[in-house]
Symmetry: C2
Subunit: 650 residues, 2 copies
Amino acid sequence: MRLSTLETYIVYHTIPYMAGSPNHSFSIEAGRPEIEFGVTNQSTKWVLNSPDPPGFVQQICQSIKSNVFPQGNTCSDEKKHSACARVVAVLSSIFPVLNWGRNYKASNFKNDFISGLTLASLSIPQSIGYAALANLDPQYGLLAIGPVAVVSLLISSMISKLVDPAVDPVSYRNLVFTATFFAGTFQALFGILRLGFVIDFLSHAAIVGFMGGAAIVIGLQQLKSLLGITHFTTKTDVVSVLEAVVNSLGTSWYPLNFVLGCSFLVFILITRIIGKKKKKQLFWLPAISPVISVIISTLIVYLTRADEHGVKIIKHFKGGLNPSSLNQLEFNGPHLGQVAKTGLVCAIIALTEAVAVGRSFASMKGYNLDGNKEMLAMGFMNIAGSMSSCYVATGSFSRSAVNVSAGCESAVSNIVMAISVLISLQVLTKLLYYTPVAILGSIIVSALPGLIDYKEAYHIWKVDKMDFLACAGAFFGVLFASVEIGLLLAVGISFGRLILNSIRSDIEELGRLPGTDIFCDKAQYPGTLDVLGVAVIRLNSGSFCFANANPIKERITRYLSEKKQMSGIILDMSNVMSIDSSGIVALEEIHKKLVSRNVHLAIANPRWKVIHKLKIGGFVEKLGSECFFLTVNEAVDVCLSSKSIGLPSC
Amino acid sequence: MRLSTLETYIVYHTIPYMAGSPNHSFSIEAGRPEIEFGVTNQSTKWVLNSPDPPGFVQQICQSIKSNVFPQGNTCSDEKKHSACARVVAVLSSIFPVLNWGRNYKASNFKNDFISGLTLASLSIPQSIGYAALANLDPQYGLLAIGPVAVVSLLISSMISKLVDPAVDPVSYRNLVFTATFFAGTFQALFGILRLGFVIDFLSHAAIVGFMGGAAIVIGLQQLKSLLGITHFTTKTDVVSVLEAVVNSLGTSWYPLNFVLGCSFLVFILITRIIGKKKKKQLFWLPAISPVISVIISTLIVYLTRADEHGVKIIKHFKGGLNPSSLNQLEFNGPHLGQVAKTGLVCAIIALTEAVAVGRSFASMKGYNLDGNKEMLAMGFMNIAGSMSSCYVATGSFSRSAVNVSAGCESAVSNIVMAISVLISLQVLTKLLYYTPVAILGSIIVSALPGLIDYKEAYHIWKVDKMDFLACAGAFFGVLFASVEIGLLLAVGISFGRLILNSIRSDIEELGRLPGTDIFCDKAQYPGTLDVLGVAVIRLNSGSFCFANANPIKERITRYLSEKKQMSGIILDMSNVMSIDSSGIVALEEIHKKLVSRNVHLAIANPRWKVIHKLKIGGFVEKLGSECFFLTVNEAVDVCLSSKSIGLPSC
């Protein structure tokens, strides 16, 4: 006869409650006649007779199901369609071209063609620069699908520790390809196992701090090419880099590099400012200014033979299609563990960036982004890349923005871009021989200000000081220690804070809002009223577990010893989402202590899993089932009436 | 004019609300007249005009204050007393002897004397055994204040990795003393900084598993002395130990040791069963059975000269007072970091055991235990110990139990015990020369069954499967890997679970309990009713932060796309204790999505810190202040009425 009284209620109240309907009265009035000497009251029955929550195994299955097949529940509609239509739906979800390809027109192609060319002119010089940042020959960057500054820095700083690229460039390159392979594998795995949530482990604040720190570190690395220094450090922290720069300034640097680099840096920055002011007409100006700089500076060097006067030029440049790098992957070297770790870190950072870019454009254009599908695509791209002389690539905000503002309509613009890059590789090989290295440095530096989001950092400081601490930890960690330590600090602070928050041992005193049945935090609502002789306490933590059970117990005991003449204490458990065996033991000890002081204990609004555990753990039996209530108000009512008539219950 | 309306309410409702008083009506009735076209309703004002919560710095100060001076608030009473009385109070809190010493009588001493002697007879053989477990000469155990099995195992397994005790016993011993010094320092620091909570980081379940695993490992270690094996492994995992035993069985073991050890083990176990059955009269029997075994077995060996037939005896035994070991502490060796780590781990395990023992006796005898004071005492004891040839000591459950059941009345019984041990050291040195090692093994093994608490493990399994996982992880980690890995697994699983719990991305649908204003989880209370056209959703996590903001956003979006024809959605935030910048961004995106689908969003019952951050973060402004409510019920009312009259608000 479970819930029988509740069912009776339903029969009488089947008309959905409408605001202000006169037949509505508060439950305590309806339930009052049943509160007799020791007889369990109505809401207590509801609390104690709720069905069991899903078991451990059931929960895990449900969680897997909802993660792996998030659309599982809605596919019932599709069953009506034929099997053929479903195959088409699956195929077009894997190959989106099947969707947009059907309606593709010549006018679409015109737009895609223009944006593809614009994109190519941006990405050729940018990618060569990133390759230099990753300590690779320029063609590896140009060949890469879309390397970004931070991942290039990350891979170079982590692999340089294993093999010095200046000493053994071949095995360094092999390790980079192997790390790319691992990164792709991890990304694909994340996508297949629907572990999209891992990228959420880097909090927004941590990313802001990390990107800012990385931007400064990348900028400092460019001093090498801007100053034309030959011997540079492989470390990335500010102190080592500045030391290396100061040491070189005394011996070997060439001012011409600096002059060349800085003047084109100024040119690129000015075009960017112009492009921002006249977004509609001149959006293409900042996009093509890098390639203009490369062409002009190369011509200058070629005509003046400045390379003979100390201006560093690219020199080695291998054109043509990417050679296969399948046999360069090293899976049994001594560094395998470290390389796999590098792959994992790069995979996560690359995904974080790609998904962030994807989410902003999805939100801007109003479409939905399936993070897991995105990961799968990234993963396969990087696995394929590692086998064809590419290193870790990911979605780039600057290039996506150029693509969108150049009016791209579909993935065709990317195909146009790829073909343009390929042609450039064949044609421009000779030209790129004389390109000064300093120009590549200035192109990278010009992209950095966008990574330092000081406004967002200030906003984070204003909203949440602990969040800002994670941000600052990541920033200074990257700056003064290393990229990895910065990341570790950010993740550590974010999670440390999460743990500290979830094991708070605070308790809140509740009071009645005057004229209502509502009990609120006395600190939040200063006008609330105390109930005479009854203390209402709410636990301020989502879990009542080993890590906070003892402190909470001690706080309640201390609170009681401060208040004299309490006849009852009501524990509002509405916040407590989970309880473990230590929590139950603590409740038992609180009860024991209260009994010894002749104070009654009542539990109000235990959540589903909590009341289930309290039942299994035997606490409901120990305390007495009449001491459990649905609301604080009912518990207070029963406490007051039992006090006046001297009930021994709870 | 903050809270002015609330203040008006207070004027009219100053009489504390009594159960069933007829002038009481639910707030929504009182507040209804004010809900006019767009005018903010009463409870919304309360929600939005609450005072600011304490700031970041203030919170930290408060937290330090409440941790460092937990009694700070109650000392106002003491101000009335004179300064002299306060000095006495402080002194007697540091030296409890000042309290009980004043009333100490001859009859007290009689009881303390008997229990002290009983204790000494138990601890002499036990401590020698523990010293063997720690790979130290027997006198170091005998001299130690109170070594316990698990800490002995821990220190030996961790220091053996640095220096093999068989190869270089002197530097091994020095490292043990240094680790003891670090352990004492850490314990004292924990006490001074009031970091008592660190010992709560080992959950109850983890301790049960860890102790069980350690007991089995300790038992296996005793096979060395029980079988009289000469060459044994320094590893502690089951596989290595069994391998070493099997290897030795083929070559060099002496069955006489085994016969001797096993027969006395049976004797000790029988006396324990008898002692348990007749607790009142024969409690002393199990306590003195070890010393009887030692005496009898030593006599047997001495008379039969069994040591010449392969029975291993202690031999080296240095009597007299502990020599100073101050100059043996090594603070600049190559192992300093590892030794400090060993000290930290031992400090935490020793404190966990001591505080667990202390808490059970405090709860049994009804006194309060100040964990921080306890830690301070332990810390100074171990620092002093490290300088006088002792290794890490802690509170032992078995000895405390013997002390209590032998009728001790004060710390005098411990002084009696110490003097007895000292005399034994002087007198029995010769006798202990012939004590067979196997007896020490059997004494340790006899204490182990108490450490394997399979009943509690079953209880944990019944109450909480994840808790049991931590327990099993610790158990198998200790058994098959090492003591440290077992500990790490236990802490890792416990905290991993805590994090998973606090970043749940579940949402709950709420329904109205028929005939009431209460909205409850539809799964927990299956009789609840839906409100037509309005979805009420409660976030099921204590924090809405970087780690779960995106999944929660996606779940709400998915939920909405499943339900058609929703005109409003009410987000019950009563569970959310904290929100960070990622959470606010997610709320903004949810709002954006809802606006695009023409669904209204309302927030019900935001907590103090959450509403504060929403105000700072600008979300209140974006959503509109009229969309915040104190209770779900009011939000539903306003949603329904605004729907019927076509209000554009929220």
